[in-house]
């Protein structure tokens, strides 16, 4: 399509959204090139209006908005070496906790459950004998024996 000498005027008229009675409007009605351009610009403007809902900052919000920016600009960044030190300390602490927990949990270890054990046995009864043994069934036993003549 050939370019039109009115194109620049029509573009300015379109941006200013001129009145339908302007000479540019009469020209667009006659010139297919300018009419096509105006149609294309109009479609583009409509699409932008539909998609771009820009966040507006109200006048009352500006002081707080700029205070936030100033604060971030003025805050000095933590040196990288300091960060590494904290990371190392955290790792060391975690390793220490794991090690201590393992020692506490496993220090005595699980022990097998065997039969009951008789450590000692005695009697204050005169003339009686006492002994401990394990039966064939594995039952720990303490048994006292007195002579038939004794009365108790």
């Amino acid at each position: 399509m050939r370019r039109c000498g009115w194109e620049k005027r029509v573009e300015l008229w379109f941006d200013g959204e001129g009145a339908p009675t302007d000479p540019e409007a009469a020209h667009v009605a006659q010139c297919p090139h300018c009419a096509a351009q105006v149609a294309q610009w109009g479609a583009l403007r409509s699409a932008v209006r539909e998609t771009a809902a820009s966040e507006a900052i109200a006048d009352a919000q500006f002081p707080a908005f700029f205070d936030g920016i100033r604060e971030q600009v003025r805050t000095p960044m933590r040196p990288r070496g300091h960060r590494k030190l904290w990371a190392a300390l955290s790792l060391t602490a975690a390793a220490l906790i794991v090690a201590i927990s393992a020692v506490v949990v496993f220090r005595d270890g699980p022990q097998p459950v065997g039969a009951t054990v008789i450590e000692s046995c005695s009697t204050e009864l005169e003339g009686a004998t006492i002994r401990s043994y394990s039966s064939d069934e594995g039952v720990a036993t303490v048994w006292i024996t007195v002579s038939q003549d004794d009365v108790w």
Binding site: V117, I118, E124, L125, A140
Partner: protein
Amino acid sequence: MNLVALTIIVGAVLAGPDDTPPPARVAVVVVHATREARERTHFDPGLEPIRETVSDLNFDTYRKIAAKVLNASFEEETRFKLSKKYTLVLTPLSKARNGAVRMKVRIDMLPENLRKKPVAVISTTVVAKPGKHFRLGGLRYDGGELVIVMELK
């Protein structure tokens, strides 16, 4: 902040559980064992759980006198009257991590002269394992003998 958290966590881990364990639960079954020339050994109702435990003893009749589960606090004497004459005294001493309980077990006998001190007929220290029977016996009683079967619960 990290050091405070570390101190709290390490302290909690090292502190561990309370030192005093809960009371030991000890089941006690008191049996009157006699020889009555029976063809088949008799067990009173309720004595089935100890049938195997006394199977090697030379008696043919087992009568139930008492059965009770004692809650015996550690480092304290827990008494259980077996008969008019005999009293069982349990003193749990310590508890191992596998659940075994070391305890003193004593059977006191009242003397004929009540002014005299009771006699420790049996005095023993055992390491009782949960679910395992142990027994004391040989005490004269009403023409037979007393057999005391115990089990740490």
